[in-house]
């Protein structure tokens, strides 16, 4: 039962009058001090909650985007602050899609309105534009007691859901959307987990199977592990710009039917980590497939405004579904997810988001409403921010020109960085990279020498983790190894955001280039 035999129990490790044991987990990575081993040892004898008694599903939950490499990066930052000498002066965290952390400035209008909502006395000031005040009053009027500090309905503030529905209608060229089908959420991830939680049921061969792409965003694999659902992997085609091939969906489904009951198909478009944008034709094929196979479609469309490549356009699954006619639009069940964390505003810290459910069994919808009520409500400032995203300044309003200027600048810079990243990586021998058509990441393939692979094995690390750890230690750049997202066996990748400011991104790309060449030489 115990990994380490319990050493004799002494109280000497408590250097204060209270003897209470703290469990340290975050900073020490995988290494445990003598003290903690003692604590752990004792724990095996007497603890209620142990690895053996806990929910076994949670043991399988992993989340690479915030995994061991990030924990090490945090530790290195601390060491730098404490004056430890390193070959670099700062850690650049290109592991996570966090625009503001990389220096992107917030959209002025959004923050003005939120400041007004936070401290409504400012509404008396003449420093704020009228349209910002108008929006703030509208939001406050919809809040309990005119305060963003009051709970909202669990499904979200009614008038914001109405505006989201109208926004979707505009986006989709007039296809109707009902506020009753909109659920605001604590970031898109909360909504995704909620829908999966509803859908996963059955035992043994009847256990729900969920199709996810490989590579995928690790939220999906983590949620599936937690729910003890069966993960059905379908591979994206790296040779064809990470495109989705329906034949591959069929293969994966056919195989899975032997051991589970496939009920859900998850699609991320534009792709994370792979950056591809699906063509309209491909979306139609996927919808047809979902209908034939009686699958619930989950369309993760949080990067819908992040499309850069010429000739690529974002098509929402809902729009395509409705344009395929009633045979599809009245039957295929779907949920589509969006967030305030990405796009041009990149406001991750607010945890705003929503989902739209389509063709959902009304009885199940009642269950969904019940399930979201356990969270009480999504953060109200995040809801307010979402309101602004779906209802931005209009051409006749005073804030319009600044808003458009800021929005365009962010998206143009992202497009430029997408191109720069692709070009630079493709110029490095041993790195190949698909164009970043959309989203915020590049997911290049790296060829690793056999000696490096052997060395990694020796250290008990997956080769791309070994690569990324070394990069972090030597250059202070934090990336996420491809193994955290899934990849074809024998191939290695990493995910890097394209978010650092252009000048900094150039430096990062150069450093990775140098590192890669050095690494290849060292192990050849």
């Amino acid at each position: 039962m115990c990994a380490n035999p319990p050493p004799p129990h002494t109280h000497t490790h408590t250097h204060c009058k209270y003897s209470m044991i703290f469990s340290f987990s975050r900073d020490n990575g995988t290494k445990m001090s003598q003290d903690q081993q003692a604590v752990n040892g004792v724990s095996c004898v007497s603890k209620v909650l142990t690895l053996d008694t806990m929910n076994p599903n949670v043991r399988r939950v992993e989340y690479a985007v915030r995994g061991p490499i990030v924990q090490r990066a945090v530790q290195i930052e601390r060491e730098l602050r404490e004056g430890v000498k390193k070959p670099f002066t700062e850690v650049i965290k290109a592991n996570i899609g966090d625009a503001h952390a990389m220096g992107q400035k917030p959209i002025t209008f959004f923050r003005q309105v939120l400041a007004l909502c936070s401290y409504p006395d400012l509404l008396e000031d003449n420093k704020f534009p009228e349209d910002a005040k108008k929006r703030a009053r509208r939001i406050l009027d919809a809040c309990g007691g005119h305060s963003i500090g009051a709970y909202s309905a669990s499904q979200g503030i009614e008038c914001i859901r109405q505006d989201v529905a109208r926004y979707i209608e505009r986006r989709d060229g007039g296809i109707p959307s009902s506020p009753d089908n909109i659920y605001l959420s604590t970031g898109a991830s909360d909504a995704i987990v909620t829908i999966l939680k509803l859908l996963v049921c059955g035992e043994g061969r009847d256990r729900t199977g969920v199709m996810i792409s490989i590579p995928q965003y690790p939220l999906y694999s983590a949620a599936l592990a937690d729910l003890a659902a069966v993960q059905i992997s379908y591979y994206l085609d790296e040779e064809n710009c990470w495109s989705l091939n329906v034949e591959e969906l069929r293969r994966a489904l056919k195989e899975a039917k032997q051991y589970c009951k496939p009920r859900v198909l998850c699609i991320i478009n534009p792709g994370n980590p792979t950056g591809q944008v699906q063509s309209r034709q491909c979306i139609e094929d996927v919808i047809r497939f979902a209908k034939e196979e009686h699958l619930f479609l989950m369309a993760d469309e949080v990067y819908q405004d992040n499309v850069y490549a010429d000739g690529c356009k974002f098509h929402s699954f809902k729009k395509v579904l409705f344009e395929m006619g009633p045979e599809f639009s009245s039957t295929v069940e779907m949920a589509s997810f969006h967030s305030t964390s990405k796009c041009y505003m990149g406001e991750c810290g607010f945890r705003g988001g929503y989902m739209e459910v389509i063709n959902m069994d009304p009885q199940v919808k009642a269950q969904l409403t019940k399930l979201v009520s356990v969270r009480l409500c999504p953060p109200v400032p995040g809801q307010a921010l979402l309101e602004l995203v779906v209802n931005p300044p209009q051409p006749d309003e005073p804030s319009y020109s600044t808003f458009m200027k800021e929005r365009t600048a962010v998206l143009a810079a992202l497009g430029e960085k997408a191109r720069l990243t692709e070009e630079t990586f493709n110029s490095v021998p041993g790195i190949t990279c698909n164009p970043v058509q959309g989203a915020m990441y590049t997911f290049p393939c790296i060829s690793l020498p056999q000696k490096a692979i052997d060395k990694a094995k020796e250290e008990g690390l997956i080769p791309d983790m070994f690569y990324c750890m070394k990069l972090l230690e030597e250059e202070g750049i934090c990336l996420v190894p491809g193994s955290g997202f899934g990849q074809k066996e024998g191939t290695f990748h990493f995910r890097m955001t394209i978010l650092p400011p252009t000048e900094k991104l150039k430096v990062v790309l150069q450093k990775i280039r140098d590192f890669h060449l050095r690494f290849t030489q060292e192990f050849s």
């Binding site: 209270y18 044991i21 945090v74 401290y119 963003i148 009753d180 509803l198 859908l199 399930l371 356990v374």
Partner: protein, 527 residues
Amino acid sequence: MQSLLMWHVLTHFCYIFNHKPCFSYKKLQRRRESSAHTMSNSDQTGNESEMYVMHEICSSVKNMKQLDFSVLVRRANQIKEELKQGVKKPYRELIDVSWGDPHRTGVKPLSFVRQVLAGCLYPQLLESNRLKVDVRQRAQRLLETCAGGSVGSYSDTAGLTQTLKKVSEFITRRDGGVPSHPDSIYISPGSQWSLTNILNILVNPEASPKTGVLVPAPSHCVTTQSILGLGAEVLPYYLTEEQGWALQVEELQRAFDSAKGVCKPFALYIINPGNPAGGVQSRKSMQEVIKFVSEKKLFLLADEVYQECVYGENVEFLSYKRVLAEMGPPLSETVELASFHSASKGLIGECGLRTGYVELVNLDPSVLKLLDNLFSTNSCAPVLGQLTLDLMINPPQPGDPSYPLFYEETQRIRTTLIQNVRQVFEVVNSLPGFSCQPVEGGVFAFPRVYIPPKAIQKAKEVGMEPDTFYCVRLLEETGVLARPGSEFGQKDGTHHIRFCIMTPQHIMEELLRRLSIFHTKFMKEFS
């Protein structure tokens, strides 16, 4: 006219409550409501639902109770809309005291908190003299703790490093020096979120027998829902109403024994100060609980979100962590405890910002590591809320430019609360057919209402719990939205209502006025 309206409303409620309403009701309902678009969703399904992929759903979600309250809320929203459109009612405004949500009832947010948040949201404000110097300094300092100097960036999974440190310092101060370590704390979007994560790691959904959690009755119903939603069994232990909702160890023992053949008790959930019952535990009672969980090998979940709201004379809040530490070894080194707190409650009352935290004590480090993975899948708690938590535990100090106003505002809330508590106790206890225990803490009154047999009969006819029926009538006739005791768990044959007492004084006076008139009328009608 009014009775016709009443009947209309009751048929509407009846319709929603009964899954198979009698035919005449249904027809009538359709006719009357077709223009009002108020039909419940559940109505629109026929037998086709088996065609849906989603027809079959997670069984533990199905096990969660469909709360009557959602129907009350729907009706309250309609009333609000009707009032807006000028429909004549015996009242002009709805009083919503169904949540522990002070801002909703009209309590004003604390200026200092909101000024700092405004400065963090729109840092240009920090460049002028519009805000006081300590506000600007505080905002500046908080922004420096955020990645990229923006509240729009993610924090680490457990929270902002600086805020975690301050939370641990706050806990140490609160607990008279008992040490607290930032690495044992997780900030989350509300304390309920932390609680769900801890429950998730405690509850093995496939275990046989099922995992059991001892839960007070009455109890915060959201927690009960979470437990059911995770596939565990709820084992209620009843608080003793006659003794100010005291917790008795014999009752814990009874609840523990009731698990035999049903499930395996694994955790004990305590709410102190209570919700909805306003009791505050004594040190002795807490020591008994700690000994009990140690003996029975239970994980202790201490919901302490109302720790700032304590009113009774000679009553003080003690945290479970403190009492545990002061009991010394071996208990202080073995009892596993999760303690929850929140920025939603107390004088700050910022529910909508969704921030709370959990502190974990004596946890197996390898389990804590896995818990970290679980928290990380949600990225982080809303950053604005995290800063609010920071402000809650580090308010302005005497000498700061913002202190006088802060002091005035918090004093006003405190004084009002104490007045409200007294007034509620006096007025409610003066009404025949009502009895209310002294509210020692928390933000709710949970008086017992003796519903006459005729009213119980009537409630049965329309398919409602008697106290739901009472709340429906209260809402309809007086515009007061309270919650029925049946949602929280109560001894069979007893009925209660819950309402928030953290309101401005004039609102509480108006509420009690409406309640008194309604109650007298109700008792007469069904006598």
